[in-house]
Amino acid sequence: MTTRISSAHLELDELQRILDNECDISEHTYAVTHLRTCSQCAAELRTLEQQAALVRGWLQQAAFEDGVADEVASPALLRDAERGRIVPMASRRKPALLDQSWLRVAAVLVLLATPVAASSDVRGWIAQRLGLAPVEPVNEVIADPDPASARAGGVIRFVPAAGSFELFIASRQQAGTLEIVAGEQSDAVLQIDGAVGAGPIVSEHELRIHNESTSTASYRLRVPANVTRVVVRIAGEKAQQVEGVELREGVRLLLGN
């Protein structure tokens, strides 16, 4: 293992990995130490964070996924298309993608619609595509956490997306546990006990806990019954999945080294 000199500035890719909780433990330790004393790198990280937030905000405001009343062609894709190969006549008549899609989807749905394989989500999908059910609402955050109270310990309530939910934890910390359990409630609750050096950020489909390696906070996350899987990502480690019986009965993960 090589030791870095603490005055060496963080590279662009390292800053991005910090922002995305993608650092391994040694990289994270170095970054935390360096950022405490290097205002230049701290400023670059802030800029990167602000830029990412700006882009995310615009993407959410554009709400492409909500459907369109007016078609806004993507110039980038049009440009890609102009560079593309000549499309055969059969495809010109109608896009090949749309020609056979329904037949093939129907065939696959026969497979999926068996009692063993078909979940309510897939049935909902079928019903939705047949126009029998409304489009499922996207996730909604009921209340943003109050960073001040969260840092002193507190409770955050929010509605995670149905199906799978992701929880990101910035780093391994000194001590503490994470308990996850599914319940009958309609929203999710994150309770933070004894949080020092930790704070949550709730976004549309995920929950991020920005903890410091010195934190000893413990977290209790209760998710609604419609969440069938929680994926836990701790920086530098392989993602863990909590699902099925484990999720219904509850699981406790150690966050301390």
Partner: protein, 167 residues
């Protein structure tokens, strides 16, 4: 790793909405995004990938979106109107909301246009919570280079979004 029906069902529950949203942003067309997302899942079952399914699904869907857009552009050039606008179940937005949304879509499209295909794909996959390793697999690069790819993509997009609108 083969994709069993049960696994496909789980993947569907986990990934359909993120994939549809990603494609809607990528193509600017929510209906097309839904069609392509379905098609990608059909292909997942018909031809299960050897590699990890999550990045594979996004890569295949991105390729389908590009192919479909090419075909649709040719239709326009040949005088077809293209796909008719489908009726939408949601209530229509108010005029003010429609203007805001249209403006936002135009701005975002211009920002995404400034990116290379790889940058665009990486940025939009990041928005869906993908790890760098998965983005690397989908984009066809190394995990180590994803940080730089993303940082540049975000900076470029943010720069375009902050520029005044040009007509």
């Amino acid at each position: 790793m083969s994709v069993t029906e049960q696994h496909a069902t789980e993947l569907y529950a986990e990934l359909y909405e993120p994939l549809r949203r990603y494609l809607a942003r990528f193509t600017g067309d929510a209906d097309l995004a839904a069609d392509i997302a379905q098609e990608a899942f059909v292909r997942l079952l018909e031809r299960p990938p050897e590699s990890a399914a999550r990045p594979w699904l996004f890569r295949v869907a991105t390729n389908l979106a590009r192919d479909d857009r090419r075909a649709r552009t040719r239709h326009r050039l040949l005088g077809f109107r293209g796909r008719a606008q489908l009726a939408h179940a949601d209530p229509p937005p108010s005029p003010e909301q429609a203007v805001d949304r249209t403006t936002a879509r135009q701005l975002v499209n211009r920002a995404l246009e400034a990116l290379s295909p790889k940058e665009r794909m990486a940025l939009l996959m990041r928005e869906e919570g993908f790890a760098h390793r998965e983005i690397a697999e989908a984009v066809g690069t190394t995990t180590g280079s994803v940080g730089t790819l993303l940082a540049r993509a975000i900076a470029k997009a943010a720069s375009r979004l902050q520029q005044p609108q040009e007509d």
